[in-house]
Amino acid sequence: MANEKWGMVIDLDKCTGCQACVVACQSENNVPINDEPLYNQRRASAWIHIERYWEGEFPDVKARFIPVLCQHCDDAPCEPVCPVFATYHNSSGLNVQVYNRCIGTRFCANNCPYQVRFFNFWEPSWPETLKNQLNPDVTVRSRGIMEKCTFCIQRIHKAGRNAKSEGREIRDGNDLDIRALDPACVNSCPTNTLMFYDMNDPESEIAKLAHDELEHDGRGYHLLEDYGTHPSITYLKKVDKDAELHHDSH
């Protein structure tokens, strides 16, 4: 599996902010439980989280939701600044974090315009019984290191291995393959806001969708384009009945 470029399409017009993806991610990736103190210290870690932005005033008030997760940028600002190569770009377009390597300078987090890198300020802890749930495929991070969305790399690898063991490649058509491959958030998303697949695969529906929406001035756009990070995630604009056109120029 070398020539993939895993990417996501997020259709903001479908997102209802239901938080299913958030919890799914927590349980798949052994993200520490965000207890009340963590929230109050502003140290809650949610690899994917829904941000809510207000617009207008009552009664024409609007609240808009956007799921924000690691954009796995092609020119990730977090990568060059890590002194110890704890974060790097792998062959399938993923921005990977090597927990063992990380020494916790938090430089990457500062240089991430999307603020999707989370730091283990404390030693994550679970009650004995809850530890039974922890996912054996994913490291339990210790304190003092950076962590972030991996596009559920463990699932990608597993799916790849299974496919190989059956002597075939992962196919977009094969629903079960996709279920095994998709990140936890994508699998859970009730409205299909989140869509995930290899953007280098010309046959892939999702790759086509992303391409079309981006090219022929469709709804596609990248987050914070003027930072030149070239994210792997394509957002589709929210559709609003009473939106003015001039906003598109932004």
Binding site: F107, P113, Q115, F119, G144
Partner: protein
């Protein structure tokens, strides 16, 4: 008018070695207070190691806090030594002579203090060994693109360079102490350190050349160190407040500003502590005062440029950041204090001759400068992070924890203690330099007045 006191070598030795052979009365109490602070702070650090960096006040998105502000501050102070001794030596400023050593020692200890902050800052300090490139066996290398790799290299070089600097300038004085100190072991130690200095012309020539060479060589390092420190911030594309091209010169000039002020401060303290008013005269304060006016004004120019061009971009986070910096509690008052304390109080005062020429005046003004400059570092780092990128949803704030505060106190206590201990074993004023100064001093008769003059080789 310049006053000028002829001492003669004997008196010079006696006065300048007073601190080494004897011990001022205030030395013990102050040193022990500093030591106490250090011990307390070390307990705090132990707590941090034990519980994790969570005991600090940092959060998301303000991932950097007091430690790095303090780091930058001490790196800034460390520029004093080289500034004073190297540049002034190259430009043959006569007034440098009695203050060089103190400045260099300040450099040394503030560098160490700065380094300690790195360890406080790391999430897993016990893994700092990943930074130096030693893990060849597994083909794991540090990332040379990262300013955090440039930093250790530059600072390390700077540390070595400035220690050499101090040592070379020490050799003749060590010999003097060697000849005066009583006690076998002390004699042996000083004898060893002074590398068999006999004061032969050849030795003198070597020592002088080495000094000049080192000053020339250390200057680029001196520039690179703080440029790199500034790039720790300036390369952050996503923190508009930091991503400014002016940072390197701005930090350097800021460093010189705070550094030279610190030197002036130390000069005043030396005058009071070791009764050196005959060596560090009002002329010296006058000279450093003039220098400071120029430095401060240049610094202010760069500050203005930095600030204007930040708003020049007209980007929302940038505007929000500046509003926060200047108007919002608690940053607004801090900003006011910073700008007033580091420029608008001292510089007008320095323009007054009486202030320039009085140790007390210089002491107070330079203290205020350093308070201001500490705040400057804080105001660059924290608001920048608290208002980075248009993601208003994640904008945050920062409150330092008690651990951070005590570790900041640690650095101050550490430098104080360091300088004090140094002063116990080595003279804070370079004896040979002062003597040289006396020799090079001369006068010219012009009509009825005599004009002080200096001999140029």
């Amino acid at each position: 008018m310049q006053e000028y006191i002829e001492h003669g070598p004997k008196k010079i030795n006696r006065d300048l070695l007073a601190g080494v052979l004897g011990l001022p009365r205030w030395w013990m109490p102050i040193a022990s207070v500093a030591l106490l602070v250090i011990l307390i702070a070390m307990c705090a650090y132990g707590w941090e190691l034990n519980r994790g960096i969570g005991v600090a006040g940092i959060n998301r998105p303000v991932y950097w806090g007091f430690y790095l502000a303090n780091f930058v501050f001490w790196i800034g102070i460390s520029h004093a030594g080289i500034m004073v001794s190297a540049i002034l030596r190259l430009t043959q400023a006569e007034w440098r002579r009695p203050v060089t050593r103190a400045a260099e020692v300040l450099t040394l200890f503030s560098l160490l203090a700065a380094l300690s902050n790195i360890f406080f800052h790391l999430g897993r300090p016990w893994r700092f060994l990943w930074i130096p490139p030693y893990d060849f066996a597994r083909g794991v290398w540090p990332n040379v693109r990262s300013p955090f790799i440039w930093d250790p290299s530059a600072i390390g070089t700077y540390l070595i360079g400035s220690s050499l600097f101090v040592f070379i300038a020490l050799i003749p004085d060590l010999a003097v102490i060697r000849d005066r100190v009583s006690g076998k072991t002390a004699k042996r130690v000083y004898g060893f350190l002074s590398l068999g200095w006999r004061g032969t012309p050849r030795q003198w020539k070597l020592q002088t050349v080495a000094g000049i060479l080192l000053s020339a060589l250390v200057l680029p390092v001196f520039v690179s160190v703080h440029s790199i420190v500034s790039w720790d911030f300036a390369v952050n594309v996503s923190v508009e407040g930091w991503h400014s091209t002016i940072f390197a010169p701005y930090f350097i000039i800021g460093a010189i500003h705070s550094g030279v002020s610190a030197v002036a401060m130390v000069m005043a303290l030396m005058v009071w502590g070791w009764k050196l008013e005959n060596y560090i005269t009002r002329d010296h304060f006058d000279a450093i005062g003039r220098l400071l006016i120029v430095v401060a004004t240049t610094w202010f120019f760069f500050f203005a440029l930095e600030f204007f061009y930040a708003i020049y971009t007209l980007e929302d986070p940038e505007i929000a950041l500046r509003t926060m910096q200047v108007f919002e509690w608690p940053y607004g008052p801090m900003f006011f204090v910073f700008i007033v304390a580091s420029y608008f109080i001292p510089v007008p005062l320095w323009l007054l001759k009486n202030v320039r020429r009085s140790p007390m005046g210089m002491f107070l003004t330079t203290i205020s400068v350093n308070i201001g400059m500490w705040l400057e570092r804080f105001l660059i780092i924290i608001p920048g992070l608290a208002r980075k990128t248009p993601f208003t949803f994640d904008w945050g704030t920062y409150h330092p924890s008690i651990v951070e505060i005590s570790l900041v106190c640690f650095t101050f206590a550490f430098v104080t203690l360091g300088v004090l201990v140094f002063s116990k074993f080595f003279p804070l004023v370079p004896i040979f330099d002062v003597k040289e100064g006396e020799v090079f001093r001369d006068e010219i008769k012009v009509g009825r007045r005599t004009v002080p003059a200096s001999i140029r080789e």
